[in-house]
């Protein structure tokens, strides 16, 4: 990590830490943003660093939201346990879906994950405990470790912030670990990774499970923040949204998904009053991203920065030679 990046992260963290003490930004909005930022970052681990496009991540996000909401409301589990249970669900489902989907590659992988997630959607629609069209409403946030009351937004905010940081650091650690290097090599050239002796399928599966579990964590957090788990969370639109966040921000960059999540969530908030306009705008952004800037905002910025550095180095070298 360069000095610049470290400063950037410190500043960001400082901003996040003081959110409850100001009036400019609505605190629940920042919590929502953190949940989706974690969701997109988890998704990016798969798309950006392994090169697998899952179109079914809503199954983990929304499914875990349901599990956590039910555990908290019907069983009275404390929030940390409810979230763990949601992650456990996402982990198991991720393992099942992942082991099916990695049997095919590329475009088929996307279609399979989409179809499998639709299975979860229909389950959520028809099972008793999910409440059908209404979803699970009025989920209690409960007492963290049985003594910290999360019903105040400030307490909930710091809980969400800590969870987000844990998830984010885990992803960051995974990417920079030897395991992450192998994932990147699969993304760049799968046949070569196989010829080097890596069991590519196992690596893909593990990446899928980690990504699913963290997506589940994001979903669980979301259901506690909004005290709500609904069909929107498991709908394939949600899977599409997380793809958009990641692409818009920048595939394969650490900060990209966070920026993308911020923009998409902000935009949705802004357009919420005008009916189906947000769908049209999101679709249009999708088209523009794919056609015009596939590296995403952070990706383009990094590329620009790199070019700038290079030209500076070249100029510097020239002057020294003189």
């Amino acid at each position: 990590m360069s000095a610049n990046t470290r400063i950037l992260y410190t500043v960001l963290l400082a901003f996040l830490a003081v959110v409850p003490f100001q009036d400019f930004v609505y605190i629940v909005f920042v919590m929502k943003l953190l949940c989706f930022a974690l969701f997109a970052s988890a998704f990016n681990l798969l798309l950006g660093y392994t090169g697998l496009l899952s179109f079914g991540h809503a199954a983990f996000f929304g499914g875990a939201a349901y599990v956590t909401a039910h555990a908290s409301k019907a069983w009275g589990l404390s929030p940390e346990l409810a979230i763990l249970l949601g992650m456990f669900y996402a982990c198991v489902t991720g393992y099942l879906f992942g082991s099916l989907a990695i049997r095919r590659q590329g475009i088929y992988f996307a279609m399979i994950t989409l179809a499998l997630s639709q299975l979860i959607f229909f389950l959520a629609l028809q099972m008793k405990f999910t409440g059908g069209e209404d979803g699970i409403q009025g989920v209690p946030r409960g007492y963290l470790f049985r003594f910290i009351d999360l019903s105040s937004d400030t307490a909930m905010y710091y809980f969400v912030l800590v969870l987000f940081l844990v998830g984010f650091l885990l992803i960051q650690r995974t990417i920079h670990s030897p395991f992450g290097q192998v994932l990147k090599s699969i993304r760049e050239n799968e046949p070569r990774a196989i010829s080097l002796g890596y069991d590519v399928k196992q690596f893909k599966l593990l990446a899928f499970v980690i990504s699913a579990t963290l997506a589940g964590m994001a979903g669980s957090m979301k259901s506690l923040v909004f005290q709500l788990a609904t069909l929107t969370d498991v709908h394939w639109h949600m899977s599409g949204e997380v793809v958009l966040m990641t692409i818009l921000g920048g595939i394969g960059t650490l900060l990209g998904p966070i920026v993308g999540a911020g923009l998409v969530i902000g935009l949705q908030n802004y357009l919420a009053g005008i009916g189906s306009f947000s769908t049209i705008v999101l679709g249009a952004i999708f088209v523009v991203c794919v056609l015009a800037f596939r590296r995403g905002i952070v990706g383009e910025w990094l590329a620009y920065f790199e070019r700038y550095q290079e030209s500076k180095d070249r100029r510097g070298g020239y002057e020294q030679n003189k």
């Binding site: 496009l53 179109f55 099916l100 989907a101 049997r103 095919r104 590329g106 475009i107 088929y108 996307a110 279609m111 399979i112 989409l114 179809a115 499998l116 639709q118 299975l119 229909f122 389950l123 028809q126 394939w236 599409g240 793809v243 692409i247 009916g275 189906s276 306009f277 947000s278 769908t279 049209i280 999101l282 679709g283 249009a284 952004i285 999708f286 088209v287 991203c289 794919v290 056609l291 596939r294």
Partner: protein
């Protein structure tokens, strides 16, 4: 034997008929997807939206266009719409291909999927904005109203539903014949195998790609017009269907034209059967079959192992 499950033969046959109708839609749509994928290497996520467009254009032609033109008596009837709507949607498709899709062929196939997904959102969103999601009904054309009563079975077969099955089967078979047995089909299959070589032989491959996309899209719109009197015409009718069709395509594998037709019909029937015996699972059965097929034969029933 059936009575033991509390099911009458009438109910069974009625559900099988519904299944066959759904199956014919799956067949046309997966056929279009397979043709487009073969030549363009793009999974056309817009397919569902284009199916919806077909249905909506037919509905607009029948009920709206007269008022727009200030001639309340003027309307475009079903039979004209059956030809005009696919042509119109096909033309829109050709414009989309020329303006956008074309730019992505040199990239990973996934970008094609993402672009068409975005376009599907835009189209669906626009129609939701204009017409809401409540749905419009499209009346069955006069010539196909009513039905046949089979007294001996105590069955009533609506004419329109029979027509849907016949028409879609005819279109599927004609498409199959065109691709597998004609000169044009030869070029198409050659383009699927090796576009560069075909281009070297003097065939205008980019033009062929564009027309193929237009044709595949027109098939979707044709299915949409057929579907308009059966289902409600609403903006989300396509997006719910397209995911099922994706599963159908994964089950069948996109290697063979006949394969996608057969798979589509068979899965429609299976869905109908499930509706009789275990209605709760009917919306999920195709996805479950997909999971099983992936376990047993990952390349799909008719797919080639690559």
């Amino acid at each position: 034997m059936l009575e033991a499950f509390g099911i009458t033969p009438q109910a069974l046959i009625a559900q099988l008929l519904v299944g066959l109708i759904n199956g014919s839609f799956y067949a046309i749509l997966s056929l279009g997807l397979a043709i487009i994928f073969g030549l363009l290497n793009v999974i056309n996520f817009t397919h569902g939206a284009q199916y919806m467009l077909g249905a909506f254009f037919a509905w607009i032609g029948l009920t709206q266009v007269g008022n727009w033109l200030g001639m309340p008596d003027f309307s475009i009837n079903y039979w004209v719409a059956l030809v005009a709507a696919p042509l119109l949607v096909g033309a829109i498709g050709i414009v989309m291909e020329r303006l956008m899709l074309k730019r992505l062929y040199h990239l990973d196939h996934l970008y094609g999927l993402l672009l068409t997904f975005g376009l599907a959102l835009v189209i669906e969103g626009m129609f939701r904005h204009w017409y809401g999601i409540s749905g419009e009904s499209y009346s069955v054309p006069e010539a196909l109203q009513g039905g046949f009563r089979l007294e001996s079975f105590g069955l009533f077969l609506p004419k329109y539903r029979m027509w849907v099955i016949v028409a879609s089967l005819a279109v599927c078979i004609a498409t199959w014949y065109m691709i597998e047995r004609t000169k044009l089909g030869n070029y198409l299959r050659a383009g699927t195998e090796n576009p560069k070589l075909l281009q070297a032989l003097g065939i205008n491959v980019p033009l062929m790609i564009t027309l193929t996309y237009g044709f595949g899209v027109a098939l979707a719109a044709f299915a949409g017009v057929l579907a308009a009197p059966v289902f409600q015409v609403n903006p989300v009718m396509g997006s719910n269907l397209i995911i099922v069709v994706f599963a159908v395509v994964v089950i069948g594998g996109m290697g063979s034209i006949a394969g996608s037709i057969v798979t589509g019909l068979a899965l429609g029937l299976l869905e109908g059967l499930t509706k009789v015996f275990y209605p709760e699972a009917s919306s999920m059965v195709i996805f479950v079959v997909m999971a099983i097929v992936l376990l047993v034969r990952p390349a799909g029933l008719f797919g080639k192992e690559k």
